[in-house]
Symmetry: C2
Subunit: 358 residues, 2 copies
């Protein structure tokens, strides 16, 4: 039985990448040492981290005045790092509240003593549409505006960056990082854990414009952008294996035609499922059409028991991890970069049959 893993993250990885890691696990680059054993100060690893950085630059067309950095600690780490490094003038942050992870980012900054102004929220619409604040936001009021480009739990995504005046834009791209195209230059800073589209959990990518990186004191070193820029992301021991594996996924992504190439496939995958759901008399997705995510698609029968039954039957059919987030209920299919079209087809076929039987 072919297994398809629809988990929201950590999530499915490209088969050829898993095979390559497996093949070279005992000896990386004929060194006689496993990638898990080599020193981060070795020429071998320098090549790996530098290639990964360059591949991020190539794939996202990162302008030269941006740094590409590798951190530990996930998006949650960056919820602290971003205000601590960037909110140094006004200590005041603007936020568009598009769901759970936007709220979490705001809460972390508030807890650290920053003022967080929620300019707009779609909480009263159960986050089934995106906040669209259309007034200019001034850099003389806020250090930055935080947005979550893709809302993993709610299933929405900004396909167009909202108007934001002259304020610095910070994007949490975690769940559609390199799954659809964004213009890096629209952002002052982009961050995201790799464990959805780009690699195994344990690496966090940060892309930050040079003028925003200033020496900041009195913050933990592992969250200090300036130190990480100086030390090429190796202020302390980085997660060597995870950066290596992420690097292989980046190379795979280039082979898929880069982000433009994979986005086309992602659109095809998402359309296949959305079209089914929109036609279905049993299942439905309730997200505003223009705001629908390509990578996270929640849906429901409207009956919690029947939803549960669908998840159980799907699991038996090898369609794994379709249970929706507890805050939303129902089902959720995460269709990240490494999910093949065949997996979505198998899901649609299953849902179609399930519908016929109920």
């Amino acid at each position: 039985m072919t297994i398809y893993n629809f988990a929201a993250g950590p999530a499915t990885l490209p088969d050829p990448v898993i095979k390559q890691i497996q093949a070279e696990l005992p000896s990386i680059n004929d060194s006689g040492m496993s990638i898990m054993e080599i020193s981060h100060r070795s020429a071998l690893f320098d090549d790996i981290i530098n290639a990964a950085e360059q591949d991020v630059r190539d794939l996202m067309h990162v302008p030269n005045n941006y740094h590409v950095l590798f951190f530990q600690g996930g998006g949650t780490g960056q919820f602290a790092a971003v205000p601590m490094n960037l909110a140094t003038t006004h200590k005041r942050i603007a936020l568009l509240d598009s769901g759970h992870w936007a709220t979490r980012a705001g809460d972390e900054a508030t807890n650290l003593g920053y003022q967080v102004d929620v300019l707009d929220s779609t909480k009263d619409q159960h986050y089934q549409a995106l906040p669209q604040y259309d007034k200019p936001i001034s850099a003389s009021d806020y250090d930055y505006l935080h947005i979550t480009t893709n809302n993993t739990i709610e299933g929405t995504a900004y396909h167009t960056i909202p108007e934001h005046g002259d304020v610095t834009l910070v994007g949490d791209l975690s769940s559609n990082f390199m799954a659809e195209e964004y213009n890096v230059a629209d952002f002052g800073l982009i961050f995201g854990g790799v464990q959805k589209n780009l690699g195994p959990a344990g690496v966090t990518l940060v892309i930050v414009r040079d003028d925003l990186v200033k020496p900041v004191e009195h913050i933990p070193s592992i969250l200090n952008y300036s130190l990480f820029v100086k030390k090429n992301s190796m202020f302390n021991t980085p997660p060597v294996f995870n950066i290596y594996a992420t690097g292989l996924v980046l190379k795979w992504l280039k082979e898929q035609g880069g982000i433009a190439g994979i986005q086309k496939v992602n659109q095809q995958k998402a359309s296949l499922l959305y079209d089914f759901l929109d036609d279905s008399k049993l299942f439905a997705n309730h997200i505003k059409k223009s705001d629908r995510s390509l990578t996270n698609i929640p849906f429901t029968t409207g009956d919690a028991d029947l939803d549960k039954q669908a998840v159980t039957s799907a699991t038996e059919a090898g369609l794994m991890n379709l249970k929706g987030h507890r805050s939303v209920g129902g089902l959720r299919a995460s269709l990240y970069n490494a999910m093949p079209l065949a997996g979505v087809q198998a899901l649609v076929d299953f849902l179609h049959n399930f519908e016929k039987q109920h």
Copy 2:
């Protein structure tokens, strides 16, 4: 040619562990999913992290009133986390300055606004012996005393815990974590990255006494002990692969007779090299005998060019990463748990031949 990797960390791992990871990389536990792909919220991973925790408890005989936690961010992350979580009463820390990493821990706490009092230092002895402060230290003056049990760069180790009165003891065990026995109950908190003795880089173990874990506000969540205790180390996505691999090393360690068993082997390995160095007319280790580390052994000919030549020849013979740290120079052999006795024998044979030829 058999390769032996004497790197100071990331470092050599047990062969059977690498083979097991390789074998089950495409499908963990017959799930059809790679360990790199499974959700940290899955029953599969719950079993893995709970077994790893239990194995830490078994191996170190951790008392029931201690928590075992898994963090990201390395020892450097804990240099910030420990004062932020523990130095809440006096905001004052005592430190025994035994070398580079003790200094770094002190600097991080100072930078975060804590008062750090260096009670004793062996800097003027080039850290070739350990500071032995023999006055009692009072909990009414300090939140804790920080020691580095094993000094990776300088090659010293506390085989007996220094006297410290009633003050809470914090131990950075990074480079001899589970390589020699310590009594957990002597410490209020123990921490260390796993990438020397226990696994691939990317996991940091913290063992902390229950009464020291208090809700602390205004600190980054990824460094918050209280949150990690509440969420069983999964406040946010943990490094799933790295915890799994660490778990396999822990199981391997149990098969070696636990810490008591591996310590005997480590003593044998260290004696083999120290005995050679003490007999040698070319190479010497300059560390005070009672303070010598089992896991990191620096040595030198006293001639920088000849040292360099020895490193080069050793590399050609498959004895890798013997270059000493730039602050000490010379050579350094790291003999962590997974380094077999045969590797140390090969090193001694090589050094013996090198000596004959020079």
